[in-house]
């Protein structure tokens, strides 16, 4: 390996122990080399941190819908392989636009992502205190007066924020969510994922509703 190759391998933790010890001995004796290592370390940290915020952004609902829609097809009825492939081809053609009236937590309608089935029911009727595998978290009023609620579905491994509009719950943000403790890029085990909370911060007017106000809003049918 050239010196440059050994240098970056050292910075990346890719040198095996004997090579690493040899390189560190050179490093101790050569201030110029030490400066180079420091420069490479700063570069690595800078590149990594420049893209790190993307991990916390909510994935575009359209992307989540593509995978989720396909998922529900398979989960509901055991389709043969050719059908799954055909479904994939259909997805390739219509992705992000139409989609089919299949079961699933979210459906694309007129360019919006609409809660349906169990998620729609939970957002409409469930209170935060109810718990369960499909939980509603925060409830609040958005700046435009609509009611919005966060949700977490263990079964769908999906969290999100949806707001009431024309009798439907429109998802403003979704994020992958796992109910168990999970490593780095996944979201925290308890509470709503940071991406969803960021969407809450962007939409909320005032404070979240307390349990009594939450119940009262539900009992009025979420009318603004």
């Amino acid at each position: 390996m050239t010196l440059e190759e050994r240098l970056i391998a050292y910075v990346d933790g890719e040198l095996a122990a004997p090579d690493r010890a040899a390189f560190e001995a050179e490093l101790a004796a050569d201030p110029t080399l030490a400066d180079k290592v420091a420069g490479h370390r700063r570069l690595a940290a800078r590149i990594s941190s420049a893209y790190a915020p993307v991990l916390g952004e909510p994935a575009p609902p359209q992307l989540v819908a593509i995978a989720s829609a396909a998922n529900d097809r398979g989960a509901g009825r055991r389709l043969p392989r050719w059908a799954a492939m055909a479904a994939g081809l259909v997805i390739g053609v219509v992705a992000g636009r139409a989609l089919w009236p299949e079961p699933g937590p979210l459906a694309v309608r007129g360019g919006e992502l609409i809660a349906r089935g169990g998620l729609d029911q939970a957002l409409t009727s469930r209170l935060a205190a109810d718990g369960g595998a499909l939980r509603v978290g925060l409830t609040f009023k958005a700046r435009d007066g609509r009611y919005c609620r966060t949700f977490r579905s263990a079964e769908d491994r999906l969290a999100g924020l949806a707001c009431r509009h024309d009798g439907r719950w429109v998802a403003l943000a979704t994020a992958a969510w796992a109910p168990a403790p999970s490593p780095d890029y996944r979201t925290a085990a308890s509470g709503d994922p940071p991406a969803v909370l960021a969407a809450v911060d962007a939409a909320i007017a005032g404070e979240t509703l307390d349990p009594a106000a939450e119940r009262a809003a539900r009992d009025r049918g979420w009318k603004p």
Binding site: L43, S48, A67, G74
Partner: protein, 164 residues
């Protein structure tokens, strides 16, 4: 039914981050992620459960990115224009400084040749080991290392990190 789609949803943050390092413009990056997910679903029979889904999908993304870049070159199309000064809004000064620093990195990455850019993205942005990155790219480890050396030298020169 395997949980492929759920695993893909969980992988979306990393797919999006890698795509941003490759395609730069956020809209192009999410288009790239969408093509990657669609191809993965169409080719689901090729993925063996128990093997690394991230490596498999990164490889699909690499091929999709190269295909798309060639198609754009043929069409003479421009990449989506950069929205200069976008979304600085009412960020605090620290957030804005971080955003500007990130934009410098994005600009420097965009100047790298494709083979160097994806090598740097896999190792420095996603944090794969050399062996994992070489497998994604389907190249020998020595080739990966030399691309990393050249890519990093260009980034150091561009970003002015060479001097302490």
């Amino acid at each position: 039914m395997d949980g492929l789609e759920r695993e893909i949803v969980e992988l979306l943050p990393r797919l999006r981050r890698l795509a941003r390092a490759l395609a730069r413009a956020p809209a192009d990056a999410d288009d790239l992620v969408q093509v990657t997910v669609e191809r993965a679903l169409v080719r689901r029979g090729q993925w063996r459960p128990g093997t690394r889904l991230d490596s498999w999908m990164f490889r699909i993304m690499k091929n999709a990115w190269i295909d798309e870049s060639r198609a754009r070159t043929r069409r003479g199309a421009l990449f989506a224009p950069e929205a200069a000064g976008e979304a600085v809004g009412d960020d605090g000064a620290a957030a804005m400084a971080a955003r500007l620093a990130a934009r410098e990195v994005e600009t420097a990455m965009a100047r790298l040749p494709q083979d160097q850019r994806i090598a740097v993205a896999l190792v420095l942005v996603d944090g794969l080991s050399y062996q994992e990155a070489a497998e994604v790219l389907e190249i020998p480890a020595g080739t990966l290392t030399s691309r990393l050396v050249r890519g990093r030298a260009a980034l150091l020169a561009d970003l002015g990190e060479a001097a302490p």
